[in-house]
Symmetry: C2
Subunit: 346 residues, 2 copies
């Protein structure tokens, strides 16, 4: 091991609105030694994902917030440098949740050993954080369990070029659906239709976006995979068909809302209208996170690795080099500036 | 047949806000003769239900609006006066959908013959419009299919003394749940706990209602059976537990909203907050109407008649005498003035 120090990014302060550079602090700390049952890990890849914005706030959510001064959380692919546990040895590759840092000492039981040849079918290690990891499984479990797509139905996928959306749409195509993506900008839209094979893609930055979405869905919408919220949701709502299903896995447009901006959101209050739509159209809205479907991990891994190696599901990664670039890359992610699954090569 | 005329209540004009007397018109018309395949029916009981407010408006919903000058729609129990169909004979009793009128000629295929002894286990004919009819089946199918109550969970039921709510809560008790009702006024609350056996009932007219509901649900809420909306929903939302289920079968507090009052509903817009709750608590909201579960009719009838005759499910009817009283009784229903399932003896 060439480095005697751990480089890490800690939460310096809680953002109000968009996170800025000053909410993060890059610092060095001493490398701890693994005790019995523990391993010392070196981070190879760090996943950057929208949900991390939630962990920076102290509002109640499905997970505890990161405390000020603590390392930012995140999924990682790591190499084992030292092992004090019989289950792992030096040189093993593991998927871990060690966050924004170059090294970590954790209990061996909190990591999962992966074999690049067997588990990833020879695909790059970074895919364990993307199409074959949490975002891919979020797409798979949310679409199949909640969305329940049927051949011939119309599916609308927001953030269609993103880590989750790209997979949702491609699985829906495999299931025989008509798939309409929504993405920001011509480059992303061209990728979504040209590379990923969606039937159409509507640019949410276009003037007249809502009208264009309506035109793209002449038979209405049967499944809307919600991961953005905001104006995209507003455009989708009137197009939903009777019995439409709406898996809710993210609301990136609202992650920078503060309690203050929530309270000041301009009226009218549309909750009664939304409830009326749920009632009269018999809609199903269901929120989920990937761990709710943990029991389906094996099935996911089997299906997805088959689809990826056969070319039925394509993926794109946006790789940022160096942990010091993580804060800026994450800020860009919340603005939709990444193109493909965002990972940091540490 | 003593009466040569049909007495009927037609929609005179579409209400803006609460319906008034002038939205209805009582009139007489000639009695038509049944053609081949038809029957002439005399109405014994007419069911009055909140959904009828929706049919008075021309906003898009799951059913067509009643046209101006047309008879108000509604479920009925009728006697066959003349039959031109082999399947029915004079004197048979049927459940029909002939609306607010004393007589009707309809196709024999649109009615369902009932035997008071066999089908209703000797219970009054009016129960075919209540606990053993549409409201009872709404409660049964919505609670069991969408609410999926588990023993030990906390269930909150709005309009708890009403035709649907009373049944929801009693089935939830049978399933081993802790059941908290919400009703308007001490008399209804006393009935809900004393007669129906709910664990608690909170009066939504009380000052500090939200705080009292919170106190009544120390372990949060796992199932909220939504049939009212408005301030009751607002008090429930923050109490919902992770993975809570919300069957949405009605929104009586909003039925008198007009497009104008919707548009002018005071802000802030809480849709982003509601979506955030759905996401972070992994809530399931699902709208339904009873016909969505039509395949479960036999199972419902078997279970419910058993429960009612054994005394596990009690029911209360609010019987109004005379079709001319229907418009006022219906207006009172929307204000919560009825006490028990509202039926008109015609």
């Amino acid at each position: 091991m060439s480095q005697a120090k751990n480089l890490r990014v800690v939460l310096a302060s809680r953002p109000v609105g968009e996170p800025g550079d000053d909410n993060f602090k890059l610092e060095e700390s001493a490398l701890p030694k693994p005790a019995v049952g523990q391993v010392l890990l070196r981070t190879l890849f760090l996943s950057l994902d929208p949900y991390m914005r939630g962990r920076m706030s102290d509002a109640k959510s499905y997970a505890e917030p990161v405390q000020i001064g603590d390392v930012m959380v995140g999924g990682t692919v790591c190499e084992v440098l030292e092992s004090e546990d019989a289950a792992l040895k030096k040189g093993d590759t593991v998927v871990a949740y060690t966050g924004w840092q170059s090294h970590a000492v954790v209990s061996a039981r909190t990591v999962r050993k992966i074999d690049q040849a067997a588990d990833l079918k020879g695909l790059p290690l970074s895919t364990a954080l993307g199409v074959l990891g949490m975002p891919g499984m979020t797409a798979y479990t949310g679409l199949l369990n909640i969305g329940q797509p049927k051949a011939g139905e119309t599916i609308v996928v927001a953030a269609a070029s993103g880590a989750v959306g790209a997979v949702v749409g491609q699985i829906a195509k495999i299931k025989g659906c008509r798939v309409v993506g929504i993405a920001g900008g011509k480059r992303k839209c061209d990728y979504v239709t040209g590379e990923l094979g969606f039937d159409l893609c509507v640019d949410h930055k276009d003037a007249g976006f809502a009208a264009k979405l309506k035109q793209a869905c002449p038979n209405g919408i049967d499944v809307y995979f919600e991961n953005v919220g905001g104006p995209v949701f507003d455009a989708v709502l009137p197009l939903l068909n009777d019995f439409a299903r709406i898996p809710v896995c993210g609301l990136i447009n609202h992650y920078n809302d503060s309690a203050t901006t929530h309270a000041g959101a301009s009226g009218p209050d549309r909750v009664p209208l939304l409830m009326r739509a749920i009632l009269t159209k018999r809609l199903t809205f269901r929120g989920f996170i990937v761990s709710d479907f943990g029991a389906q991990t094996k099935q996911f891994e089997s299906d997805m690795s088959t689809w990826v190696t056969s070319g039925q599901v394509k993926y794109l990664e946006d790789v940022v080099d160096g942990l010091d670039k993580a804060p800026r890359a994450f800020q860009g992610l919340l603005r939709g500036e990444n193109f493909g699954k965002l990972v940091v090569k540490v």
